[in-house]
């Protein structure tokens, strides 16, 4: 029934408008697109972190920090940048205004998810590229495996942000909850202590968290193997569960 659906160009127009708006947020752009690479470069400037470490099985700290910085980009996009935008759109009646048009407000949410996913991916590739060029960090040994794990990690990261937004009534609450969840995710992503050098028991627990599992999957692919079924399974379960929470609990106004 072509006559009852919005012009296909409408969805593209929403995406184009949201992309323009995204580009007008310098702070969000910095934190999502640039700060992970900045973090990597700062660590890379410390000479001792560029030396092989026995704790890491002969790898350097900078080597294991490339996937950490990648996950940091995902956390910034999914948990810090996206929830306030979505909650603000709801709080200020922007979604409501759009629901009185032939285009459903879901188009607006979809555009935001697509943009934050794209930003997280570009930021991740920047981290991997700068790691290779500036510090000689080997490219992932299993590139398809790495990309697969990365895409799944992006899905988990955005689902977590969407769930935070769904469970928060206002933009302020979304920002506060996002920040409260931010620190545990930073820890489990290995930002302070890489997951690979955590004590065994702690590491096993952390690997059941969304970002702990992502860290393990990326590490396995970086070392040339395929991400293991446990890490992928844990990420898959989180992605499905968080998406279900986000969809079931989201209020349009």
């Amino acid at each position: 029934m072509a006559s009852t659906t919005a012009p296909a160009s409408a969805t593209r127009a929403v995406l184009r408008a949201e992309a323009r708006l995204f580009a007008r947020e310098p702070a969000a752009l910095f934190w999502v697109m640039a700060s992970p690479t900045v973090l990597l470069v700062i660590l890379g400037l410390v000479p001792s972190l560029r030396e092989a470490s026995d704790d890491l099985g002969g790898r350097r700290v900078i080597d294991v920090y490339v996937p950490v910085a990648v996950l940091f980009a995902l956390i910034m996009a999914g948990l810090q940048a996206m929830p306030p935008v979505l909650a603000g759109y709801r709080e200020r009646g922007i979604l409501r205004r759009m629901s009185a048009t032939p285009v459903r407000p879901a188009a607006l949410l979809t555009a935001q998810l697509v943009l934050h996913a794209a930003a997280a991916l570009v930021s991740s590739l920047l981290v991997v590229g700068v790691g290779r060029v500036a510090f000689g960090v080997a490219l992932p040994g299993n590139l398809p495996g790495y990309l697969g794990a990365l895409l799944l990690a992006v899905a988990v990261g955005l689902a977590l942000g969407a769930a935070v937004c769904a469970l928060s009534r206002t933009q302020r609450i979304a920002t506060a909850v996002g920040t409260a969840v931010f620190f545990p995710t930073m820890f489990t992503a290995g930002v302070w202590v890489p997951v690979q050098v955590m004590p065994d028991t702690l590491r096993r627990i952390v690997e059941f968290s969304p970002y702990g599992a992502a860290s393990r999957a990326l590490d396995e692919a970086a070392r040339g193997g395929w991400p293991g079924p446990l890490a992928l399974g844990v990420m898959g379960v989180w992605a499905v569960a968080l998406t279900a929470v986000a969809i079931r609990r989201f209020r349009w106004e």
């Binding site: 919005a6 012009p7 127009a13 408008a17 007008r24 922007i94 409501r96 009185a100 285009v103």
Partner: protein, 297 residues
């Protein structure tokens, strides 16, 4: 077929009945006003018409379609300007109009619409930087951008200065000339009286009057006002006893009797019977304001 039909509409939020059995129809090309105090259920009613809320009971049709079940098709017929909605802070006027135009297969001419609403000088201004009146005009533009057959305007002139208000009224009148049906929510009497073909007064979720503006004024208990200099020999008690008299007061040196046509007739007879005259006699019609205050609590 009426363009908009609302029959026995009810909607409650928890325990509170916001709309309680509202019925009215709006004919094609008509400007229909919904008047009432804050919290009377005006906005809930038009939100049900726009398909933004699902009624608890009753029937709503726009162009013969159910606004909830046929939401997509109704959004093509019906433009909406809502209270309390915003746009993305950094979206410019031009971008907002382009975006909303892209939702429709045959949008209105954006440039002409912007000019008509005095937005052409602000096309590159971001939403957050617009004044209240400019935001309001942008929302009116977005309501009209799909070239709709009917339009809901909720608190149309809130935040507009007197000149912008009159320009907006001219715009609504030109919509009538184009055959567009208008459902107008307002609490500005002057606006209702000037624009509306018919008005429904809603109070506490119910329609308390539905008529032309003149009809509503005429039906009110205080439709006519008789006033004269206070130095007359007539007693307040005998004035209050006139048929249909609602109120007798003295203010600013004048005695003021409010009532109906019957009150005026009886007053003239009274003067003749008592063989007295009064100075400065005036008989005036009540305003819609007076009638409104009469019909709402």
């Amino acid at each position: 077929m009426p363009m908009i039909e609302v029959r026995d509409l009810s909607k409650a939020y928890g325990e509170r009945k916001a709309v309680d059995g509202v019925s009215f129809t709006v004919d094609e090309g008509e400007i229909f006003g919904i008047l009432g105090p804050n919290g009377a259920g005006k906005t809930t009613t038009v939100e049900c018409v726009a398909g933004l809320r699902t009624p608890d009971a009753g029937r709503v049709r726009v162009g013969g379609l159910d606004p909830v079940a046929d939401h997509d098709r109704v959004t093509r017929l019906l433009g909406v300007q809502l209270q309390q909605s915003e746009l993305q802070a950094k979206l410019t006027v031009r971008e907002a109009m382009e975006l909303y135009a892209s939702f429709h297969e045959r949008p209105a001419d954006r440039r002409a619409l912007a000019a008509r609403l005095g937005l052409d000088a602000h096309l590159d201004v971001r939403f957050a930087r617009l004044s209240g009146g400019q935001k309001q005009r942008l929302f009116i533009a977005l309501a009209l951008i799909g070239d709709p057959r009917a339009v809901v305007l909720d608190e149309l002139t809130t935040g507009l200065d007197p000149r912008a208000r009159r320009d907006t009224w001219d715009l609504v009148e030109s919509l009538r000339a184009d055959g567009v049906t208008v459902l107008l929510v307002t609490h500005v009497m002057e606006e209702a009286q000037r624009l509306c073909d018919r008005i429904a007064v809603i109070d506490r979720g119910r329609v308390t009057a539905l008529d032309t503006p003149a009809g509503i004024i005429g039906r009110a208990a205080t439709a006519r006002v008789v006033s004269f200099a206070a130095d007359s020999p007539l007693e307040a008690a005998e004035l209050a006893a006139l048929p249909g008299a609602a109120d007798v007061t003295t203010r600013e040196g004048r005695t003021v009797v409010t009532g109906t046509d019957a009150t005026v007739d009886a007053f003239v007879s009274l003067l003749a019977r008592r063989a007295v005259t009064v100075r400065g006699l005036r008989v005036t019609d009540a305003t819609l304001d007076d009638a409104y205050l009469d019909l709402t609590t």
